[in-house]
């Protein structure tokens, strides 16, 4: 059991064998190679990729199939080889690999990067962000189009800076919703 400092959840403990190895890092974070995937039932289907090398680095992700059940993988033979998978055919999501989409949050709402999914081979724990050139998928797919958003999301954004206590707000909200015990995938 190792204790891990996280960006959003305080300290978490994890087993050494749940570590994920990104030999190439991720574009923009090439020197961050060790992560764990953290899942809270309450936050389903979100899965957090927390860096083991930088407590402040945590990607919020979601299984690609939860966003688009028809999603088709188009992984290069080179990437399949890096994951230790058969490069002659596309891997089966959920069977050969776990496939996650990185989420970004902007004023217009959350978006998902479907252009470059993160692939995890849970058998050898190798992982990478697959860059599929020529794919029609968007790197900023609108996760919840404007009209589907609950109304209360709007006034929050319009609130002046002073109305948001710098420390209290970011700390409280997510932690209340989460149990101390997290499942590390």
């Amino acid at each position: 059991m190792t204790l891990l400092e996280t960006k959003h959840f305080g300290k978490l403990s994890y087993e050494a064998d749940s570590e994920l190895d990104f030999p190439l890092g991720l574009p923009g974070f090439e020197d961050r190679k060790r992560f764990v995937a953290v899942h809270f039932v309450e936050n389903d289907p979100l899965i957090y990729l927390q860096s083991l090398e930088d407590p402040a680095l945590c990607f919020i992700t979601m299984p690609v199939l939860a966003i688009d059940p028809q999603y088709r993988l188009n992984v290069s033979g080179e990437d399949l080889g890096r994951l230790g998978l058969n490069s002659a055919r596309q891997p089966r999501v959920g069977d050969d690999v776990m496939c996650l989409s990185v989420l970004s949050i902007s004023e217009t709402g959350p978006t998902a990067n479907l252009l470059a999914p993160i692939l995890l081979n849970l058998r050898n724990r190798k992982a990478l962000q697959a860059v599929a050139p020529g794919s029609d998928y968007s790197h900023q797919f609108a996760l919840m189009p404007q009209e589907a958003m609950p109304q209360e999301a709007m006034p929050q954004e319009a609130m002046p800076q002073e109305a948001l206590p710098q420390e209290a707000l970011p700390q409280e909200a997510p932690q209340e919703a989460m149990p101390q015990k997290a499942a590390v995938c």
């Binding site: 959003h8 991720l26 574009p27 923009g28 974070f29 309450e42 936050n43 289907p45 979100l46 680095l57 945590c58 990607f59 919020i60 990185v102 989420l103 970004s104 949050i105 902007s106 709402g109 959350p110 990067n113 252009l115 470059a116 962000q129 860059v131 599929a132 050139p133 790197h139 900023q140 919840m144 958003m149 609950p150 209360e152 999301a153 929050q156 948001l164 707000l169 970011p170 700390q171 909200a173 997510p174 919703a177």
Partner: protein, 74 residues
């Protein structure tokens, strides 16, 4: 626009050289010689890098608002 055959070269300024190394059925292999300080990356890699930097900037407040949208209070 400029038409080139396999093995031919394009020069950009004094110190960038682009060679059409091989033309396949659906892919072209391009060799690029550029000064060390000029980054050479595929466009989609830059898109993804910028998107990852944006994603990594998510604050706890962003996360709360995302969770609230996924699980609106009943």
């Amino acid at each position: 626009m400029m038409s080139r055959r396999e093995g031919e070269t394009i020069l950009i300024g004094d110190d960038i050289e682009i060679v059409i190394a091989r033309i396949g059925r659906t892919r072209v292999k391009v060799g690029i010689r550029a000064p060390r300080e000029t980054p050479v990356i595929a466009r989609e890699v830059k898109l993804i890098r910028d998107e990852n930097l944006r994603a990594a900037g998510a604050t706890a407040a962003d996360l709360s608002s995302l969770i609230a949208r996924l699980h609106p209070p009943a």
